[in-house]
C-alpha cells in the first residue's frame, strides 16, 4: 500500500469532443520502471503531461506519495520530486549545456541556493550522461543524441524521486539506445529512482520495464509484465490489427 | 442630442474602421505593431491637403492618388527594409516602427511645418436635416467612402488570389512558402495595402480635422484599440470596432467629463487585453 508512489484514478482529458485520455486508473510502485506503450495518438504524452502538471485534468485525480497533485502548477509538482523530459526537446537557447542543466539543480527538488554548488552537482551529472567534455558548448550546437542526454541530465539535476521519460530514445541509433537502456537501469537500481517510460522502441521498453501499461485511443487496454503484454491479444490487435492478433493468438 | 451624437459617432466610426483594418491587417499577418501607421495617415492627409491647396483637387477625388502613393512607399519600405526584421521579436519590431514613425513625422515637419493645416471645402456647410438630426454632406461622404473602402477590402481579402495568399501566409508561414507563395512579396503587398488604407483615411479626415505632423501618435492608439476590440484578422471586427469606438467617443462626451474619457478608454483596453485578448469578435487566430 505505502509503496505506491504515484496513482491515478479516473484520469480523463478531453479536448472538445476528442477523448485524448479516458478514465485511466493506474499505479506506479516505488522503485519500479513502468513502461507505457500504445500506438500513436493513444494518449501517452497527454497522460504524462497531466502527471507533471503541464496539462490540467478534465476529470479524475492523480496522487504523488499520497498527496493530490492534479491541479497543482508544474513548478510545484517539480519541487515535490517529479521531473520529466520532453519528446521534442526543449533546451534553453542562448545558454551553455552547463547552464541548462544547472537550472535543474537550482530549482528542482533540492533547490540548491548557491550557483557554484549547483554547477558542481551539474558536472557530476554530466559525467553520468557522458557529456562531460561539452559543458561550455551552446546548446544550439549539440547533436540529437547530445540533446536527448541534455534533457535527461536536466531532469536528473532536479534529483527526482519520480522520473518521467517521454520517448527519450527517439532518433538514436542502436548503440546509443543500448547505452541509454543501461543508464536507465542504473538510475533505477543504483539510485533508487522510480521511472515511468514512454517509448516506441519495443525492444528497449520491453527490456527495461518491470511492468507495462498499454494505452489505445485514450484508454488503458492492458497491464502486466512485458511477457504477458507481448502475448495479450488486445495489445497485438491494437498495433497490428485484429486478424493478425487472431492468427498470433493461435501460435502463442 | 443623444441621437445626433450616435449619428456622429457612426459617421466618423467608419473612418476609424478604415484606420483599424489596415493596422489590424499588418498585426494579424506579420505580427508587427506598426506604430508608424499613424504617420501614414498623416502623409495621406498632407498629400490630400497639398493636392487641394495647389491644384484644387477635391479630397475625395485625391483618394486614389493618395492610396497609390502610399502603397508604393510602403511596399518599398517593407520589401527592402522591414522584411529583414519582420520575423524578429516584439522588442525589435516595435522599436523599429517607433523609429520609422518619428522619422516620418520629422519629414512631414520639414515639408509642411508644424502649423496646423486644414481644408475648407466650398460645400462644407451643406447637409441634410432629418428631424432633430443634422447630417453634414461632408461627413456623409466620408462615411460612404469609408464603407466602400471597407467593402472593397473585404472582397479583396476574401475573393482575390492575392487576398487568399495573404490569409494563407498569415495562418501558416512555412506552409505558404511550401506551396509556392512568395511570402516576402506578400508581406510587402500587405504593408502596402495597409498604408493605402491609412492614407485614404487621412484624405478622409483632412476636410474635417486640422492636421499637424504629430497627430499620428494618438491615431495609432485608436487603431490599436480598434484592432483589439474587433479582434485581429477580422475585417468585420475592425468595422464593428471602429464604429464602437466612434460611438463611445461621441456618446461618451455627453456623460463623462472629457478628462476621464481617455482614462476610461485605456482602462477598458487593458481589461480587454487581460481578459479577452481575442477581442469581441476575433478568434485566437494568429498565435
Amino acid at each position: 500500500m505505502s509503496d505506491i508512489i504515484l496513482s491515478g484514478t479516473g484520469v480523463t482529458r478531453t479536448f472538445g469532443a476528442l477523448k485524448a485520455v479516458w478514465e485511466v486508473d493506474f499505479e506506479v510502485r516505488k522503485g519500479e520502471i513502468l513502461g507505457v506503450i500504445g500506438p500513436n495518438g493513444a494518449g501517452k504524452t497527454t497522460l504524462l503531461s497531466m502527471i507533471n502538471g503541464t496539462l490540467a485534468l478534465t476529470r479524475g485525480e492523480i496522487r504523488f506519495k499520497d498527496q493530490v497533485i492534479s491541479g497543482l502548477r508544474p513548478f510545484r509538482i517539480a519541487e515535490l520530486g517529479v521531473s520529466r523530459t520532453f519528446q521534442i526537446v526543449k533546451p534553453f537557447p542562448g545558454m551553455t549545456l552547463l547552464e541548462n542543466v544547472a537550472i535543474g539543480a537550482l530549482f528542482g527538488k533540492d533547490k540548491i541556493r548557491d550557483a557554484r554548488e549547483a554547477q558542481d552537482k551539474t558536472r557530476s551529472i554530466l559525467e553520468t550522461v557522458n557529456l562531460s567534455g561539452r559543458e561550455n558548448v551552446a546548446v544550439e550546437n549539440l547533436n540529437i543524441s547530445e540533446r536527448k542526454r541534455l534533457e535527461l541530465a536536466r531532469a536528473l539535476a532536479m534529483d527526482p524521486e519520480l522520473l518521467l521519460l517521454d520517448e527519450v530514445m527517439a532518433g538514436l541509433n542502436t548503440t546509443e539506445i543500448d547505452w541509454i537502456m543501461g543508464l536507465i537501469r542504473r538510475l533505477n537500481e543504483k539510485e533508487g529512482r522510480t521511472i515511468l517510460v514512454i517509448e516506441h522502441v519495443m525492444k528497449a521498453i520491453m527490456g527495461i520495464s518491470h511492468r507495462i501499461m498499454v494505452l489505445h485511443h485514450g484508454r488503458k487496454i492492458a497491464e502486466g509484465s512485458p511477457d504477458e503484454i507481448s502475448r495479450d491479444e488486445s495489445v497485438i490487435s491494437a498495433y497490428l490489427g485484429e486478424r493478425y492478433a487472431k492468427r498470433r493468438g493461435g501460435d502463442a | 442630442m443623444l441621437l445626433q451624437a450616435v449619428i456622429n459617432g457612426l459617421l466618423f466610426g467608419a473612418v476609424y474602421s478604415t484606420i483599424g483594418i489596415g493596422f489590424s491587417l499588418v498585426w494579424g499577418v506579420m505580427n508587427i505593431i506598426n506604430v508608424a501607421h499613424g504617420s501614414f495617415i498623416m502623409i495621406g492627409a498632407y498629400l490630400s491637403f497639398t493636392l487641394y491647396a495647389a491644384y484644387g483637387v477635391d479630397p475625395f477625388l485625391s483618394i486614389p492618388i493618395v492610396m497609390a502613393v502610399l502603397f508604393g512607399v510602403a511596399y518599398v519600405i517593407q520589401k527592402f527594409v522591414l522584411n529583414r526584421v519582420v520575423r524578429g521579436s516584439v522588442f525589435i519590431t516595435l522599436t523599429f516602427t517607433f523609429g520609422l514613425q518619428i522619422l516620418i513625422a520629422n519629414v512631414c515637419l520639414l515639408i509642411w511645418s508644424a502649423d496646423y493645416r486644414s481644408i475648407k471645402l466650398p460645400y462644407s456647410s451643406a447637409g441634410i436635416q432629418i428631424g432633430q438630426v443634422v447630417l453634414p454632406a461632408v461627413r456623409l461622404g466620408i462615411f460612404a467612402v469609408a464603407l466602400v473602402l471597407t467593402g472593397l477590402f473585404y472582397l479583396f481579402i476574401r475573393r482575390t488570389k492575392t487576398g487568399v495568399a495573404i490569409n494563407a501566409t498569415a495562418l501558416n508561414f512555412e506552409g505558404a512558402k511550401t506551396v509556392g507563395i512568395d511570402v516576402f512579396n506578400i508581406y510587402a503587398i500587405t504593408f502596402g495595402v495597409s498604408a493605402a488604407l491609412a492614407g485614404a483615411a487621412g484624405a478622409l479626415i483632412a476636410p474635417i480635422m486640422s492636421i499637424n505632423p504629430f497627430l499620428g501618435g494618438p491615431l495609432v492608439g485608436k487603431a490599436f484599440v480598434i484592432a483589439i476590440l474587433g479582434g485581429l484578422g477580422s475585417t468585420i471586427g475592425a468595422l464593428v470596432g471602429g464604429m464602437v469606438l466612434g460611438l463611445v467617443e461621441t456618446v461618451g462626451t455627453l456623460f463623462i467629463p472629457s478628462s476621464y474619457q481617455e482614462l476610461l478608454g485605456f482602462s477598458v483596453l487593458v481589461l480587454v487585453l487581460v481578459f479577452r485578448p481575442q477581442g469581441l469578435l476575433g478568434k485566437r487566430f494568429y498565435e
Binding site: 545558454m95 537550482l106 | 523609429g99
Partner: protein, 332 residues
C-alpha cells in the same frame, strides 16, 4: 580578465575626477547619460534578461518623480524620505501591475504596459489638487552653487549606476538571474524545472521598477520641475530599448555602453541639425535594429567573442534578437 578590471578602474577614476575638470555643461551631459544608463539597465532586467518587453516602464519613472515632487512640494518632506517613498510606491505598483499584466506575452504585454502607463499619466493629470495636473509641479531645489548642484547630482546618478551595475552583474551569475534567463529562454520548460514563473517575473519587474522609480525621484529633484507629458513620455522607453539594442540585451555593460554611444550621437546631431533631430534619431533607431540587433557587446564581450567570430564558431546567441518570434501574444 585582468585587463577588464584595469579598464574599469581607470574609467572609475576618470569619472570621479570629471566634475572637477569639466564645465557644467559637460557634467550635466554626463549625468544625463548616467541616468539613461541606469534606466536602460533597469529595463534590461525585465526585458533583456526575463524577456518581457515592458514598453510602459516609464510608468515607474513618472510615479517616482511625482511621488517625490508631491511629498517635497506639498508635504514638505526632505528628499531622502521622498526618495524612499518613491521607491516603495514604484515597487508596489510593479507588483500590482505585474499580477495583472505579466500573464500576457509578447506584443500584448508590451502594449498592456503602455496602456497602463498612459492611464497612469491621465490619472496624475487629473488629480490636480495633489499634482497640479497638466501644469506640472515644482520641487524645492537643493540650495547651493551651480557647481555644487551639478556635482552632487552627478555623483548621485553615478552612484545609482554603480549600484545597478553591481546588481545586474550579480544577476548574470546568481540563482535569481538564472531563473530570469530560463523564463526568457522557454517559460514552459522553466516551470517544469521548478521555477515559479509568476513569482520570478514579478521579482524581475519589481527590481526594474525600483531603480526606475528611484531615478525618477532623483530626476524630479534635479530638474525641479516635472509635468505628466514629460515624465510619462513613451520616448524614454523607446530610447532605452535602442540603448539596449546598441549595447546588447541581457548583458551587464551593454546598456551602459549603449547609453554613452547614443548620447554622444544625440549631442553631435542636436548641436548641428536641430531640425532633423527627431528624424535622425528615428533613422538611428531603424539602423540599429536592422544591422545590430545583437548589440556591440556580443562582438566584443568576454574576450573569447572575437576569436570565436573569426574562427566561425557560433557562440550562444545574444538574447537581443530573440528566437524568430513564436510569442504572438495572448495568454499562456
Amino acid at each position: 580578465m585582468k585587463a577588464k578590471w584595469i579598464v574599469l578602474a581607470v574609467l572609475f577614476v576618470l569619472f570621479v575626477a570629471a566634475p572637477f575638470l569639466l564645465t557644467g555643461f559637460w557634467v550635466r551631459l554626463i549625468t544625463f547619460t548616467f541616468m539613461f544608463a541606469v534606466l536602460a539597465s533597469a529595463l534590461n532586467i525585465i526585458a533583456g534578461f526575463t524577456g518581457y518587453a515592458a514598453f510602459g516602464n516609464m510608468v515607474f519613472f513618472g510615479l517616482g518623480a511625482y511621488t517625490t515632487a508631491v511629498l517635497m512640494n506639498k508635504v514638505g518632506l526632505p528628499f531622502p524620505v521622498a526618495l524612499a517613498a518613491s521607491a516603495g510606491i514604484a515597487v508596489v505598483m510593479s507588483i500590482l501591475l505585474g499580477l495583472l499584466l505579466l500573464r500576457l506575452k509578447g506584443h500584448y504585454f508590451a502594449l498592456g504596459t503602455l496602456g497602463a502607463a498612459e492611464a497612469m499619466k491621465y490619472i496624475v493629470e487629473n488629480m490636480t489638487s495633489v499634482t497640479n495636473g497638466g501644469r506640472g509641479i515644482t520641487v524645492p531645489s537643493m540650495r547651493g552653487s551651480p557647481f555644487m548642484h551639478n556635482t552632487i547630482f552627478y555623483f548621485i546618478m553615478f552612484g545609482l549606476l554603480i549600484l545597478i551595475i553591481v546588481v545586474v552583474w550579480q544577476l548574470s551569475r546568481n540563482r535569481l538571474g538564472y531563473a530570469f534567463k530560463a523564463i526568457r529562454a522557454n517559460e514552459e520548460a522553466a516551470g517544469v524545472l521548478g521555477i515559479d514563473q509568476t513569482r520570478y517575473k514579478i521579482t524581475a519587474w519589481a527590481l526594474s521598477a525600483l531603480f526606475t522609480g528611484i531615478t525618477g525621484a532623483v530626476y524630479a529633484y534635479w530638474f525641479s520641475y516635472i509635468d505628466p507629458p514629460t515624465v510619462f513620455d513613451v520616448m524614454w522607453v523607446v530610447k532605452m530599448f535602442v540603448i539596449i539594442l546598441i549595447g546588447g540585451a541581457g548583458t551587464v555593460f551593454g546598456p551602459v555602453i549603449g547609453a554613452f554611444i547614443l548620447e554622444t550621437i544625440s549631442e553631435l546631431v542636436w548641436s548641428r541639425f536641430i531640425n532633423l533631430h527627431l528624424g535622425i534619431l528615428g533613422l538611428i533607431i531603424m539602423l540599429v535594429v536592422l544591422f545590430m540587433p545583437r548589440g556591440i557587446i556580443s562582438v566584443v564581450t568576454q574576450g573569447k567573442g572575437l576569436r570565436d567570430l573569426l574562427q566561425g564558431r557560433r557562440r550562444p546567441s545574444s538574447p537581443a534578437a530573440g528566437p524568430p518570434s513564436s510569442s504572438n501574444g495572448g495568454q499562456s
